[in-house]
Amino acid sequence: MYPEDLRYTKEHEWVRLENGRARVGITYYAQDELGDVVFVDLPRVGTNVQAGEAFAAVESVKAVSDVYAPVSGRIVEVNEELADRPELINEDPYGRGWIAVIEMDNPAEADELLDAAQYKALIEE
């Protein structure tokens, strides 16, 4: 449920590093806590975001959850499919449920992120 090839944040985002870009979504744990996702508020392509800044929101029937940028950079892609199929976040959180791709200002920032073992330890606390 927490793929080894991904990096994670304490706020329950995952990051897949793709040649200086970071593909971002929310973890299995995050979607499970939220329940049925019914709306994803996507950022605009071209927006600059700072690491730690809320740049998207995922809403379930009951709750609103901000999505924080794991790294700083420019949004170069967003998952438009989520507009009509927000439930992809529940069904495939690490695949078709991705949220956005960030072109990193400083790829070294990714070194600060948690690995799978560290993230697992965090949620099992």
């Binding site: 049925d36 019914v38 709306f39 508020d41 029937v61």
Partner: protein, 379 residues
Amino acid sequence: MTDSAAGRTPKRTPLYDEHVAAGARMIEFAGFAMPVEYSGIIAEHKTVRSAAGLFDLSHMGEFSVSGPGAAAFMEWAVTNKVANMKEGQARYAVICKPDGGIVDDVVVYRRADDFLIVANAANIEKDVAWLDYLRRSWPGEGGPPVNPEDVVIRDLSDETALIAIQGPRSEAVLARLTGADLSAVRPFRFVEDRVAGHRALISRTGYTGEDGFELYIAPEAAVPLWRALLEAGGPDGLVPVGLGARDTLRLEMRFPLYGNDIDETTTPLEAGLDFVVKFDKEGFVGKEALERQRDQGVPRRLVGFKLEGRGIPRQGYPLFAGGREVGRVTSGSMSPSLGEPVGMGYVEAACAEPGTLLEMEMRGRRIPARVVEGRFVER
């Protein structure tokens, strides 16, 4: 009573272990550990609309009002007419303060020897204190035209469990467990009989917009009855349903939720509950204030609206008309039946007409919203 949520271990209903064993996600609600969902809110919601769902509502409050002055006291304490009810009838009503603010919204049952008031869990202590204050007040000081000694108020909340079965298959499922003639129990009527061998007050009421029953039982009957109902209803698709779907089901019907859509700062006239305010009654708490509001016109109204852009209405979001803030959202969600975002909120009376275009502010953006008439989902 502001500390009710903080620092106290939540109370458990008799069905707590059943919920945990079924894998429910538990939350604290009104001081109780309650199931918010089992299989998922949307699936549970749709099952109630198409088949049937089982709800643990044992957190709710039940009070008995008896004694020779009970009928006159009740007529004074609530806005609806209840003294003319016959045994076996139930009626929705509102308890108001003298200024017309809503203390609670309740269902009143007329039993042979008393009135049973069913109240919101978060309001149990407040309601009992308020009703007892009224009982002790004399006419002239705002009290009822009744001798305080002639009214007995008892809080039965801890000795009463409540299970609801709601949805089109409810009668068929329940009929397998009781000898009561359910077809003769019309909406807002009740009988006292046995279900799966346990004594129950069987009431054709609910908060979902579906046909269904509410079963008031002794706490020790809760687990066996819960299990018997799930077993009897399995072939019909009966599943346990949590508070999450209870909220979306009532929202689609535009039933107000105390604490969201109504509270002590709102009146039943503002909330569109005029049908439970009987101005032709001799007297009741809040009558003068509500008459004034009726004559002068309400300043704001609770409306239902649909978003015409992407987003989800949430409690507290501001509502605008013509660029000016005119109100706030009180409840909102994605309607599982419609797949559309719907909400309720108070707006200035001039903006309450169906068809009015509003804007809802969500995370700094304005989303168009349209006032709609009536229920979001027709049943």
